[in-house]
């Protein structure tokens, strides 16, 4: 396992809810990342974010880590959940609320 993969593994395992995104929660740099943040905020979830634009190794490595070609990517309790489309589907069905343990 190379350095980026082990760093990603550490981040995913040490944060209950973490979103790999472009930009920050306050200033998302992509519409999909912005949508993912809006969903998490709507849930009232407490989450960490990782700005992949600040780290090329993470930006490329995260795609390999999950075998998923796009960003944002949401991880809950160490498991890859999906990108913003899956987040939206799960939010609308109520599954995401259950997964993150929010009561919103």
């Amino acid at each position: 396992m190379n350095d980026a993969q082990s760093r990603i593994g550490d981040i995913v395992k040490s944060n209950d809810i973490v979103l790999f995104m472009k930009g920050t929660a306050l200033f998302p740099q992509c519409g999909f990342s912005s949508r993912a943040i809006a969903i998490l905020d709507r849930l009232g979830a407490t989450y960490e974010t990782v700005d992949v634009l600040q780290d090329a190794d993470i930006r490329n490595g995260i795609k390999e880590y999950s075998d998923w070609p796009t960003i944002p990517q949401l991880y809950v309790k160490g498991e890859f959940v999906g990108g913003s489309d899956i987040m939206m589907e799960m939010y609308e069905s109520g599954e995401l609320q259950q997964l993150v343990g929010a009561d919103a």
Binding site: W68, P69, T70, V81, G83, D85, E89
Partner: protein, 83 residues
């Protein structure tokens, strides 16, 4: 680099022959699409696996040549999927 909707549909159907594909060009610029893909082959797969099947069909273009593809997948006649 713009990519015509017909090409996206062709690639998906080449890999998932029974797929019903509907595509909307969100911004009218040939670069921001929303696709809905319905296939029996998705039955029993998690959402992640369903989306990965479509990404595989598109052969590495998603996230590169094809920047913005909103994706929705479903099995025919059911409510999306169960995990």
């Amino acid at each position: 680099m713009p990519m015509p909707a017909s090409e996206i549909e062709r690639l998906i159907k080449a890999s998932i022959p029974d797929a019903e594909v509907s595509i909307r060009d969100l911004a009218g610029d040939g670069d921001h699409y929303a696709a809905r893909v319905v296939s029996r082959s998705f039955a029993g797969l998690s959402r992640i696996k369903q989306h990965q099947a479509v990404y595989t069909a598109l052969g590495g273009r998603v996230g590169g040549e094809l920047h913005a593809l909103q994706l929705e997948t479903a099995v025919p006649n059911t409510e999306t999927t169960s995990e």
